[in-house]
Structure formats: C-alpha cells, structure tokens
Symmetry: C2
Subunit: 145 residues, 2 copies
DNA sequence: CCTTGTGTTGAACCTCGCTTCAACTTGCAG
DNA sequence: CTGCAAGTTGAAGCGAGGTTCAACACAAGG
C-alpha cells in the first residue's frame, strides 16, 4: 500500500485535471512534497482537500475564498476531524443560505406564474401604476447580489 | 407616464450596468427600439426580461442558454402570461433540481462531519483500505459535474 | 444658442478558472 | 542501459461575462 500519490494518480482519483491541480497549487490551495527529482508527491489527505475544493466550487465559492478557508487548517499537522468539522459547519451554513435563497426564488416565481410576471415581490401587474417607485429612479426588480 | 425607458433608466431600475445591457443586446438577449437619433428606447417588458436573465444567472445558467430560452418567446407580440408561464415552469424545474443537489450535498457533508471526512458516500475513514478502489486508478471522490 | 448630461460605437482590456504547448527531465520496466 | 511513459516549467491562449475608453452625437433647460 503506497503512502503518497503522483499527480497522475491524484488527477485520476479526484477527477480533476493535472493542469488544474498545478493551478490549485500555484494559488496555494493544495500542497505537494517533492521527490529528489522534483516530482510532486501528494499525501492522501490531498484527496480530501481536492474534494472539498470541488464541493465548494459547486456551491459557487471562488477559489480565493476557498483558499482562505483552507488556510485555517493547520499546515504543521494532519488536520483532525475537528479541524474539518469546523470547516464543514461553516460551509453547511453557506449551503443552507444558498438553498434558502433558491427556494425563495422558486416560490416567488411560482407565486407569479399566474400573471406571467417576473417582478418578484413587486408584481408590476398587481401594481400597474408603479406605486412602489421610490428611491430615485424607481422600483427595483433586482435580486440581491 | 412614460411608455419607454432610456438605457440609463433601465439600468437604474434593473440594477444592471448599461454596459451589461448593451452586452446582452449584442448577444441577442434583449432588444431596444431606436429613436430618430439612434438612441435605445426599451419597452417596459424589458424589465421583465432583464429580471429573468439575472434570476437565471443566479441559478447558474449561461447567457447562451438563457438566450435560447428567451428565443421561445414571440418577438412579434408582447409575451402573454402563458408565454411566461411556460418559461417559468421550465425554470422552476431547474431550480428544484439545483435545490435538490445542494440539499444532498449538505446532507452528505453533515453525515460525514463526525469523522471529518469529505469523501461523500465513500468515506475513506470507514473504508481505510480503499476497498472500493475499482475501475482503474481507484475510487473516485469526484462530484458529478 | 450654448451648455450639460446622456447616449452611441468599436476596440481594447479585465478577471476567473483553467488548458495547451514546447522544451526538457525523471522514473521504471525490460 | 535503453526506451518510453509520466512529470516539470513558464508562457501563451481561451471562453465567459463583462468594464473601460476615446471620440463623437443627441436632448433638454436656461
């Protein structure tokens, strides 16, 4: 049983391209030891980090944000269950928030399907004279960014 | 009460930058009539279209996909409630799917918090000898793309 | 009429998240 | 020892989704 992975192996097992792994390393998201001949050798824990990165990306988090989250993991020792749990909890909250937002969006859309209007919470058909037009130019149809 | 909007007004009320609106127009997502002096004048319905575009983006849909969805709306007449309802229904399904995915992700993460493992459904700690290593290189930690 | 604010265009530039390439080095099997 | 797959680097390129800029035209009030 081997104790370290080549970049090819990590790529195959994580499903992430080698070029992406090198890119992650440049950005400081993952780390590799080097052989005498300068080749990367990854610790098994790299699999977890990479999985975490891809999960986070799916949730729409930038690599830079992910990097700073991962920075909270100790570099000196193998992360413990507690270390990961801390991160997981933070991320869980983000997921919850994201889910809440999407659900709200869906429900708003549903609520407006009858009139075909997409103004969300400020239906223009229910409010034909733009009575809500306040704050300068007018009513915003915008979503919170 | 005015019946058309300048680009500045549309930008202010939709919360989308003028440059982005022009960009959307180049991509064929929105349309503007022109004054004698070649300035854009938007129909009120443009607000709906723009709102729809931003909503769709939030759900992770590319502008190209959005364009082709919007193409299903009749160019010749003002879209009816039914036209929008058709679109809304399609989009509602996408939202549902997205929400389902995120929920699953969250639950998987939760289920694994105890051990600090992030492998999702194939916990490496529960499976230390990599027994699932099949198909070539080994067990995948990958998420479905 | 003049000024000021809005609008117009195309071209260039930007960030993010990678991929591709060229030119070279390592590692391992036979 | 040879040969070939796998790894290394930096630089360049790409596609999405815009923003910025320069140089110019139009609109509305005083």
């Amino acid at each position: 049983m081997q104790e370290s992975l080549t970049i090819g192996q990590l790529a195959a097992r994580s499903g992430v391209a080698q070029s992406a792994l090198r890119y992650y390393e440049r950005l400081g998201l993952i780390h590799a030891d080097r052989t005498g001949g300068n080749q990367r050798r990854y610790h098994r824990s790299a699999l977890r980090r990479v999985a975490f990165i891809r999960i986070s990306q799916q949730v729409g988090i930038s690599l830079e944000e992910i990097r700073s989250a991962l920075d909270s993991l100790p570099a000196s020792r193998t992360p413990t269950a507690d270390d990961w749990a801390r991160l997981s909890t933070t991320w869980r909250n983000r997921l919850d928030e994201k889910i809440r937002l999407l659900s709200q969006l869906r429900d708003d859309l549903d609520g407006c399907i009858g009139c075909g209007c997409l103004s969300l919470r400020r239906c223009a058909l229910n409010n034909p004279d733009d009575e809500l037009a306040g704050e300068g130019p007018g009513a915003r149809l915008t979503l919170p960014r």
